[in-house]
């Protein structure tokens, strides 16, 4: 029996399924603090206000108080690998990566080796994102964290309400992340201060946790966004190459002129004395000139 050719409907359905799968996987973001910009460098506005050391921020107020308290209590038990839950009212002002990086950089204090953020948004479409952050993550660690986040996200599917789903995700993620942090205690480097994060000698997270100076706005310039997106090693390499070529060309142009301006000396030799003359023996030459302001000279020379 001849196998039927897949119909357009089947192809569309398969495409949608694949797209959904891809979208679902893209909701887990793994950040490496060694590679992402420090807090304050990106122009991230709309930073949610934390109440003290709270781990749960519910801007929509959709979480019931019991669940909020339960989640808050559970998340506070994991200071080594803190997990935060943010239920935003609206969408994100920037990309999920940048926003998650900004929040985690600000909130993870010294000693936190891993951190996670469960981000529930309502715009443009209701979605839950999981952002996991660590330091010096190799590809295996990244993949494991990604799997961990995906598994935690699967917990939200069991809940009907997005807020409850996000809370379930956060709770599951906190447990899993704590286990992960314990298992990979030696392989994950503790946070270290970075020069661009603030004063030297203090942990990165501690600096990020400090409030911004009074005169300084909570956002950064567009240049900061651009600089964070630029590929500085490539720019450095290109600059070196262009500088080298420029120097080479300049050298090729200038060196002959420098050599052309060097002092030259006549050789020391015995004088060809003649006519008993002390200084000059009569080597000479003559040419006629024409005074441009006068008539042509007579042919006397």
């Amino acid at each position: 029996m001849r196998r039927p050719f897949p119909s357009p409907g089947n192809i569309l359905a398969a495409g949608c399924a694949l797209a959904f799968a891809c979208t679902s996987e893209a909701e887990v973001h793994v950040l490496d603090f060694e590679k992402t910009p420090a807090a304050g460098l990106l122009s991230v506005a709309d930073i949610p206000e934390r109440s003290g050391t709270g781990h749960v921020i519910d801007e929509t107020g959709s979480l019931v108080s019991e669940l909020l308290l339960k989640t808050e209590t559970a998340l506070r038990r994991r200071p080594g690998a803190p997990t935060y839950l943010v239920i935003k009212d609206g969408g994100l002002p920037t990309s999920t990566d940048a926003y998650g990086n900004e929040l985690l950089r600000r909130w993870i204090t010294g000693g936190g080796r891993l951190g996670a953020l469960v981000l529930s948004v309502s715009e443009p479409l209701p979605a839950t994102h999981v952002v996991l952050a660590g330091r010096d993550l190799n590809s295996t660690d990244r993949q494991r964290l990604r799997d961990l986040g995906a598994a935690a996200l699967a917990l939200s599917a069991t809940k009907g309400d997005p807020a409850e789903g996000a809370a379930a995700t956060a709770l599951g993620l906190a447990e899993a992340l704590a286990t992960f942090a314990t298992a990979y205690h030696d392989s994950i480097i503790a946070p270290t201060p970075t020069p661009d994060a603030g004063a030297a000698g203090s942990p990165q997270g501690a600096d990020a946790a400090k409030p911004a100076p009074p005169g300084k706005p909570n956002t950064t310039s567009h240049w900061d966004i651009l600089s964070a997106k630029l590929d500085w090693p490539l720019i450095r390499a290109v600059s070196l190459a262009v500088g080298g070529i420029t120097l080479l060309i300049a050298g090729m142009l200038i060196l002959p002129r420098l050599l052309g301006n060097r002092s030259l000396h006549f050789p020391e030799h015995e004088p060809r004395k003649r006519f008993s003359a002390p200084y000059a023996g009569g080597s000479n030459a003559q040419i006629r000139y024409r005074d441009p302001q006068l008539a042509p000279p007579p042919d006397r020379v």
Partner: protein
Amino acid sequence: MRAPPEIFDPGKTHCPSCNATLDSLVERCGFCGFTAQTCVQRYPFVPPPLDRFVDPDSALEPGERKVLNKALNRFEKRFPQVTVTVCVMQLPEGTDGREFGYWYLNRSLPRNPEERKRRQHHMLVIVDRSSHSVSVTVGYGLDCILDDVFLPRSLNEAEHHFKTRGYVEGIAQWLKLLTRNLGTALDEAQFAQERWERRGSPMLGQFPQGEALPTRPREIVQSPRDTEREEPAPKPNPTSISGRTAVASKR
């Protein structure tokens, strides 16, 4: 160690007066009978010192002097041994600028030992406004390169400037071209000198290297006034040219 001039392949010499080609280093031109004595008798006066500009008639405008100064500075910076004098005057009818330059360069007394030392590398440019000619005479230190072949050729290269823009622009352009051409010539001369030094004994026998130059060159003729300023110097010996052969032919 001074090298013999022959290793630099200098061109033949010429009589400063009649411009006849001479085959050897003579003291009397076999063609016109020119000697140092006849030259001194022809110009029986003491010339002024060789400054950068000798302009008794103030013929040089300030702008022209500036142009020449710039060209001379550049030339003397490139060739630190060389001192250039530009003499602008109206020579009497029938006076050849080359002969006058020869006399002037030898007859003008150095004012100090430093000037005397540099005199052999002096280059005298005579601008005769009567005959509209520019003559160049160089000292012994330069004529191994700037000989009677090199000098006219270099002047001819600037002929267009001399003919269309006058002697100021002509001299400036000539110095520019001379600077360019001398670079190559001096490199070749240096190579020749190194080659001569490497050869050693055969040439040493022919050209004794240990022979020191007279520390004080003789003047052609010393006037009593000059004798007061300078140490006494022997007058040229007329018999010194006997036994030498002067083969002359018209250029």
